[in-house]
């Protein structure tokens, strides 16, 4: 997979599974983020994308059981001693959460929350850490960083709070940044600002980026590589252009259609929706979890779950899909029966 030749991959996840009691939220997912590369992880709510992202950071609640192998910049994450890893984590990866208001301590000034990182990891004194925090805030284009540093999270706008999160995630220049839908809670123009900011800073710092989203629209602008998750599994992965131009999995096709409808559709026109809903317990049935919603389903789909395999006869290297009937390259993207259900205007 692409990336800087000399450096180890920012993230290498192999066969990662996450279970909460009997529920398997992520099943044998593998994912690589090359050094300095941006990868988008796409999926609906409940597809397991956030569980996977927090599993690689070892930031799931203790009720979650994680198996598999995860390396961040060459460091084995899951096998590492919890206490040792706790200290190293911030150097390895930064996290940007979905809801910055909930992810910041409500009773501490944001400057102190940023400064803590420098105090703990760079051994800075109080004043030094405060200065470093202001610099970090300035680097995410916050005006008057010294004044903002003294404010509490609830006194900031949503965009400002998310900037603070970005500043914390990148403060120690980690090789990997995990962003969990960081723009969903924001209005459109702020979304664009944060998106631009992350792209720019990431390049400057040289971090790899794992960007989790349900909005396939932002993927093209931001990512080099994409992975699509459905019902706890990665069902298609490949370079962004390949996925956009020649999606192989019917679910990916459906996701792209929703986006096209959004772009072209006049206000009030019916939006495309993939009919049906993801299964509640995908691991219980033997077949492909997407089968009930799939326009191309056949008998084999009910019998066996398709493995994630390289697509034969495609130009793009690394394009893989988990489907018994992948769309041939260049096929029309919209299978007619999938249009069956439309949302109310």
């Amino acid at each position: 997979m692409p990336g800087d030749a000399g450096r180890p991959a920012a993230l290498m996840a192999r066969d990662v599974s996450v279970r909460y009691g009997p529920v398997r939220a992520v099943r044998e997912a593998s994912l690589t983020v090359g050094a300095g590369q941006a990868v988008a992880l796409i999926g609906e709510t409940g597809s397991g994308k956030s569980s996977l992202a927090f599993a690689v950071a070892r930031l799931l609640p203790r009720s979650a059981r994680v198996t598999g192998r995860v390396e961040i910049a060459g460091t084995d994450v899951l096998a590492a001693d919890w206490r040792r890893f706790r200290g190293e984590r911030a150097r390895l990866l930064g996290c940007v959460a979905q809801d910055a208001m909930a992810a910041l301590n409500p009773v501490l000034p944001v400057g102190r929350q940023v400064g803590e990182l420098f105090a703990v990891h760079a051994g800075m004194g109080r004043r030094q850490a405060a200065a470093a925090a202001s610099a970090a805030l300035a680097s995410v284009r916050i005006d008057h960083p010294e004044a903002v540093a003294r404010l509490y999270p609830h006194q900031l706008s949503g965009g400002m709070r998310q900037r603070v999160m970005v500043a914390m995630a990148l403060a120690l220049r980690p090789p990997l940044v995990v962003a969990d839908e960081p723009t969903t809670a924001l209005d459109v123009s702020t979304q664009a600002e944060i998106l631009g900011l992350v792209a720019e800073l990431r390049e400057r710092v040289g971090s790899g980026l794992l960007w989790i989203t349900h909005d396939i629209g932002v993927v093209a602008e931001l990512a080099d590589w994409a992975a699509v998750m459905y019902a706890g599994r990665i069902v298609e992965t490949g370079p962004v252009e390949a996925i956009f131009d020649a999606p192989a999995h019917p679910y990916t096709e459906g996701l792209l259609l929703t986006r096209r409808d959004l772009r072209s559709g006049a206000p009030g026109s019916p939006l495309f929706q993939i009919p049906g809903a993801p299964p509640a317990r995908p691991d219980e049935a033997p077949g492909c979890p997407f089968m009930p919603r799939c326009p191309r389903a056949t008998a084999v789909c009910a019998a066996r779950e398709p493995p994630l395999l390289p697509l034969a006869g495609r130009g793009e290297a690394g394009h893989q899909a988990a489907c018994h009937h992948p769309a041939p390259p260049g096929a029309p993207p919209a299978p007619a029966p999938a249009r069956a259900r439309t949302a109310a205007p």
């Binding site: 930031l59 609640p61 203790r62 009720s63 919890w82």
Partner: protein
Amino acid sequence: MAGRPAGRRPWQLLAGTAVLAAFAALAVAAPLAGSPLRPDLTRGLTPTGLPVGPSARYPLGTDLLGRDELARLAYGVRVSLTVAIASNIASIAIGAAVGLVAGFFRGPAEQVLMRLTDVGLALPYTLAGLVIAAIMPAGLTRVIVIITALFWSYPARLVYGEVLRLRRRGFVEAGEAMGASGLAVVRRHLLPQVTSLMLAYSPLNAASAVAFEATLSYLNAGINPPAPSLGNMISDGQAAITYRPLLVIAPGLAVMALTLAFLLVGEGMKTRDPDARRLSWLGR
């Protein structure tokens, strides 16, 4: 009702009820234990005039005046249970009525009643109890009046909050929209909810009442000697604390066991989320 809610812990209910039943039996059988008032000057006191220790005749010994400690304890439990039941019913009835009226009618009635409730909640219980005690003759009635006067405000606030909550969920408007009269709405939609809330609260209320009765009697503001009450038995026994600590320990343990039993019943009626802690992010 099909099945118990998850997380309910019935053993507390069982243990609490068992202890209460034992105390109730003791209270009912009190006359069998002998007289709580008549001093036994021949066998109840040592030749030097000190209380005797536990023996077959006096299982808990005698008190400073040579009276049967067990008989006094049994009658004291009788007082405790009577007070618990009577003041529990009275304070909850008054509190629930106040809360219902304030929450249902709103407006000026609500303002007056809830400000009054606030005052009731802010009163320093012991001092207020002593002041009321000063204007009434000693005895069971005085204790029940004091406890009721001080204990109605908390259930009032609880019920008021519950009525407002039900209101927000549209119980009252829905009832009125269906053409029910105000009284019918209260009876059919509010009362069942309020009743179950008060049933859940009453064991805690009873526990507080038992403890407060003992406190009042200990401070000479409840049941006065020679009539026995667990509180004034402790107060009397204090004079012998160095050589016959049982005279403090026995009634003290009785008060604690009674209160604890009521609290256990209350706990047993509660449910709780067993999974709360599994969500923690710290230390694995």
